[in-house]
Subunit: 134 residues, 2 copies
DNA sequence: GTAGCTGCAAACTCTTTGCAACTCT
DNA sequence: AGAGTTGCAAAGAGTTTGCAGCTAC
């Protein structure tokens, strides 16, 4: 049982074959797949899986905070496992998503929220850019 | 003719009654209205306006960069005039959207993009928080 | 055994679009 | 006059849901 499956079980979820498949797909994905992407990849492992189950499972995982749902101004959602905290730079020419971390930013965002009288629960920074010519 | 209307005219758009109405609604809105919100407010000024025109107009204004389209993880878009540059803190308990600016952040985000080899075109920071108890 | 889960298909929400009529320039 | 714009209704995405059957516990 993977640690992901363990966390699901602890939350009281039944570890069905479909859920294992979807968790495996997410674990094997280094990118930020859309629901459709997850569905396509899951179908390769279990041809009988339905997209409704993928939607339902991703919503569940999002509620459990095992997964992060992104809306990169594209009109649909992308998902990724909630392992390490990071942000995204979206290449406007290729659509490629680059991950980055920045400790200065982590400090700054806490400070901004506090100054506004808020406790920070979540936050997102997205940069949209074009590759610099060398 | 308002400055907004002027910028539209300069872009070669016809200043129809509907467009003037929508621009007026946007100018009068201090919040971040959804398409439906803009439509409701516009209807009070011109009962015959259609939601298709609101969608079309907001898309146009977005292309012209007169307006910013947001997706605050809600499943639909919100719009605001692109006057001054700022970011948003979304109150998770009330849904209220608070605007803020931060010059440190402006410097930092440029630096991050540059270090990743990118020219920054656009960016978004969204904080999600709960009000601190006094 | 049974509450929870699934696949299917239908429904729903948000958004876009084809078209004939209309209107700004 | 004529290209751009509009309202309407239909179509298109993406997502959710009711239901009967199935399955993990």
């Amino acid at each position: 049982m993977t640690s992901l499956e363990k966390r699901c079980a602890e939350a009281g979820l039944r570890m069905t074959g479909q859920r294992k498949t979807i968790l495996q797909v997410l674990g094997d994905s280094a990118d930020h797949p859309s629901v459709e992407d997850v569905y396509e990849r899951a179908k390769k492992l279990d041809d009988s899986i339905s997209i409704a189950t993928v939607y339902r499972t991703l919503s569940l995982l999002d509620e459990l905070d095992l997964v992060i749902r992104h809306e990169f101004q594209e009109g649909y959602s992308r998902y990724e496992l909630n392992w390490d905290h990071h942000h995204h730079l979206i290449d406007l020419e290729t659509g490629k998503v680059i991950e980055f971390q920045n400790s200065e930013l982590e400090v700054l965002k806490e400070k901004i929220a506090r100054e506004l009288g808020y406790e920070l629960i979540d936050h997102r920074l997205e940069l949209y850019g074009k590759k610099l010519k060398k």
